[in-house]
C-alpha cells in the first residue's frame, strides 16, 4: 500500500530518494551502542569461559576448556538446570492458562465495552509493577501469618499455617506462581489482540452453518490463536529460565538450595565464590540455550502475526 503510493509519487513528481546508504547513518548510533554494550560483554564472557580468570577478573591463559568440562560434571549445576526447567514450565503453564481464560472472557461480545476496558485496564497492572514491589506484595500474602494462610484457616482447609516460601516442597512452586501472576496480563493482552483479529465473517459463516458455541471455539477460535499461544509460551518459558530478581529477593536460592535455579547459580559462582570464569561459562551456556529457543520463537512468530 505504502510502497505503491510511493511509486505513484515517484511517477508524478519524477523525484527519487537519495542513496539508500544514508540510512546507515541513522542506524549507526544505536548499532554502535549495542556493539559496545551488548556484543562486547558477551564476547568477553565467552573469552572468560575458556581462560583462567583471577578473582579480580583479570583474564589469563587458555584453560583447555576446563570450565566447559566441569559444567557437565557439576551436579549442583545440573540440579539447578532441573529447577529452572520446573520453574519455567510451571510459570508458563500457569500464565498461559489464566491469560487465555481472561482473554476469552474479555472478548465476550455481549459485555459492555466500558466494562471490558475497565477490567482489562485493571488486569494489566501486575505486569507494570517492579519485581521488587511484586516480591513484597507476595511476601505479605504468603507470610506465615499472612492473608492466604488466614483464609485457608478460615475455611478449615489447613490447621497449621503453610510456610509457602520457607518450605522446600512449596518454595519453587510459590515463586512460579508469583512469576505467572506477573506474566498473565501480558499473555492476556496479546491473546486478546489475537482474538480480535480473527475475521468476523468466519463466525458469521459458522453461525449460518449452525455450529454451536463449542464447535466454533474448538474449530475456529482455538486453531487460529494456537500459533500465537505457542509463540507466547516459548517467550514466557525463556523469561522464566532467565528469572533472577524475583528469586533473589524472595528466597535468595533457599530454603536449602531448593530454589537455586541456574540464573541464581551464576550469581553465586561469580559473586560469592569469585570464580568468574566458571560463572561466565554458565552464563554463556544459558545464552546458547536461549538462542536456540529464540530461533524457534522467531521462526514460529513469523507465522503467528495476529496484529497485521
Amino acid at each position: 500500500m505504502v510502497n505503491s503510493n510511493r511509486m505513484g509519487l515517484k511517477r508524478l513528481t519524477g523525484w527519487r530518494p537519495r542513496g539508500q546508504s544514508v540510512g546507515y547513518l541513522y542506524v549507526l548510533p544505536a548499532i554502535l551502542f549495542l556493539l559496545v554494550f551488548t556484543v562486547y560483554p558477551l564476547a568477553q564472557a565467552a573469552v572468560m569461559s575458556v581462560t583462567q580468570v583471577s578473582t579480580t577478573g583479570k583474564i589469563g591463559a587458555w584453560n583447555n576448556l576446563a570450565n566447559w568440562l566441569r559444567l557437565f560434571q557439576d551436579g549442583v549445576f545440573l540440579h539447578a538446570v532441573g529447577l529452572s526447567l520446573q520453574f519455567a514450565v510451571m510459570g508458563t503453564v500457569g500464565s498461559i492458562v489464566f491469560g487465555l481464560i481472561l482473554a476469552q472472557l474479555l472478548n465476550l461480545r455481549w459485555l459492555p465495552p466500558g466494562l471490558t476496558n475497565l477490567l482489562r485496564g485493571l488486569a494489566v497492572l501486575p505486569w507494570m509493577f517492579a519485581t521488587a514491589v511484586a516480591a513484597l506484595m507476595w511476601g505479605l500474602l504468603l507470610h506465615r501469618d499472612g492473608l492466604i494462610n488466614a483464609w485457608l484457616n478460615l475455611v478449615k482447609l489447613t490447621h497449621v499455617p503453610i510456610l509457602f516460601v520457607g518450605n522446600p516442597n512449596t518454595a519453587l512452586a510459590s515463586l512460579a506462581a508469583v512469576f505467572a501472576w506477573r506474566v498473565i496480563p501480558f499473555i492476556m493482552v496479546m491473546v486478546l489482540a489475537g482474538l480480535k483479529s480473527i475475521p468476523q465473517d468466519l463466525y458469521e459463516a459458522a453461525a449460518v452453518d449452525g455450529a454451536n458455541t463449542w464447535q466454533v471455539y474448538w474449530r475456529i477460535t482455538l486453531p487460529l490463536v494456537m500459533p500465537l499461544i505457542l509463540t507466547l509460551s516459548i517467550l514466557t518459558f525463556v523469561w522464566g529460565v532467565g528469572q533472577y530478581d524475583l528469586i533473589r529477593i524472595i528466597t535468595g536460592g533457599g530454603p536449602i538450595d531448593t530454589t537455586q535455579v541456574v540464573s541464581f547459580y551464576i550469581y553465586r559462582i561469580g559473586f560469592l565464590t569469585l570464580d568468574w570464569g566458571y560463572g561466565a561459562t554458565i552464563s554463556i551456556a544459558v545464552f546458547l540455550v536461549n538462542t536456540v529457543c529464540a530461533v524457534i520463537y522467531l521462526y514460529l512468530s513469523r507465522r503467528a502475526r495476529p496484529w497485521d
Binding site: 564472557a45 521488587a132 492473608l147 488466614a150 533472577y244 497485521d308
Partner: protein
C-alpha cells in the same frame, strides 16, 4: 448439535406454548452462562489485583494488625507512621532521587537512539537491515543475568561501578532494542509521502524529520518513552549487581534490601513500595492508552 435441531424441528409439530417455553429455556440457560462468565471474569481480575491492594493497605497498618488472625481487610486505625519512618531515612529519599535520574537518562538515551534507528530501518532498504532487526528482537529473549559478570568486570575497570552512568548504560543496552522495534513499527504506519512532500518543497531530510515526522510520531514516542522509563524504573537485576551504595542505587534495591533484614519491617516496606510506584500510577491514570499500546507494539514483529 445446532444442525440436529433444525432438522428435527419440523418432524414434531409444536404448539405456541411449547415454542415459547423452548425459547424461554434457551434464553434462561444463556443467561446463566452469562452470569457465570461474568462472575469468573470479575473474580479472576479481583484475584490479580488482590496482592496490589493488600500491599497498598499494608502501608497504612501496623505490623500487629497486618499479621493478626484473621487479618482485618481495612486498616482499623489508619496510620501514616510508615511514611513518617521513611521521611526520617534520607537513604531512601536519595535512592528515590536516583531512580528518577537514572530512569530519565535511560529514557532520553533510549528514545533518542531508537528513534533514529527506527527511522533508518523504516525508510531505507539497508543491506543486512532485516538481520540487524532480528538480532535486536532477539535481545527480548536474552537473560539479563548472563551479562552480569562481564558487565561487572567492565564497569569495574572503567571506574563506573556503583555510579549512575554505569547503570544507565547497562539498562539502556537492554531497553533500546525494543524501542527500535516500537519506533520502526510506528514509522512504518506513517506514509513517507508526507516527508517527501516537504522535501519536494525544499526542506532538508533532517528538517522534514524534525518538523513533519516527529510530530506525527508523538503517540509512538510517548508509548516508547513510557516503556523505557518504566523499564529502567522497575529494573532490579543490574541495579543490585552494578551498584552498591545509596550514591547510585535506585529505589528497587532499597525495597529488596528490606528482605535481607532479620525482622522485615513490612508496613514501612509497603509504604516505600507505594511511594516507589507513584510514577507508574501517574502513567496508569493519565496515559493508560499509551501503556497498552507499548505493550502490544513491543511484541509485534513484522
Amino acid at each position: 448439535m445446532g444442525l440436529m435441531d433444525t432438522v428435527a424441528a419440523p418432524a414434531e409439530p409444536r404448539t405456541e406454548a411449547s415454542a415459547r417455553r423452548l425459547r424461554w429455556t434457551a434464553r434462561g440457560s444463556e443467561a446463566v452462562v452469562r452470569v457465570i462468565s461474568l462472575l469468573v471474569l470479575v473474580v479472576l481480575v479481583a484475584a490479580l489485583l488482590l496482592p496490589i491492594l493488600w500491599m497498598a493497605l499494608a502501608a497504612f497498618k501496623n505490623d500487629i494488625e497486618l499479621f493478626h488472625s484473621p487479618p482485618p481487610l481495612l486498616p482499623p486505625h489508619p496510620t501514616l507512621q510508615a511514611f513518617q519512618y521513611l521521611l526520617g531515612e534520607p537513604r531512601y529519599l536519595k535512592m528515590l532521587g536516583n531512580s528518577y535520574l537514572i530512569s530519565t537518562l535511560v529514557m532520553l538515551l533510549s528514545t533518542g537512539l531508537a528513534f533514529l534507528a527506527g527511522y533508518g530501518f523504516s525508510r531505507y532498504r539497508l543491506w543486512g537491515g532485516e538481520a540487524l532487526l532480528l538480532v535486536t528482537l532477539f535481545s527480548q529473549m536474552f537473560p539479563q543475568v548472563s551479562l552480569i559478570i562481564p558487565y561487572y568486570n567492565i564497569l569495574n575497570r572503567l571506574g563506573l561501578y556503583d555510579t549512575y552512568w554505569g547503570l544507565v548504560l547497562a539498562d539502556t543496552s537492554f531497553i533500546v532494542p525494543f524501542c527500535i522495534w516500537m519506533f520502526k513499527n510506528y514509522l512504518d504506519s506513517i506514509p513517507p509521502e508526507l516527508e517527501e512532500a516537504a522535501m519536494v518543497d525544499g526542506a532538508s531530510r533532517l528538517t522534514a524529520l524534525w518538523r513533519v515526522v516527529l510530530p506525527l510520531t508523538l503517540p509512538g514516542f510517548v508509548a516508547t518513552a513510557i516503556y523505557a522509563f518504566l523499564g529502567a524504573w522497575n529494573e532490579y537485576t543490574f541495579a543490585v549487581i552494578l551498584t552498591k551504595t545509596e550514591a547510585a542505587s535506585p529505589i528497587t534495591v532499597g525495597i529488596g534490601e528490606f528482605f535481607g533484614l532479620f525482622t522485615v519491617k513490612w508496613s514501612q516496606m509497603s509504604a516505600l513500595a507505594l511511594v516507589a510506584s507513584v510514577p507508574l500510577m501517574i502513567i496508569f491514570v493519565f496515559l493508560q492508552r499509551y501503556l497498552m499500546e507499548g505493550m502490544v507494539a513491543g511484541a509485534v514483529n513484522r
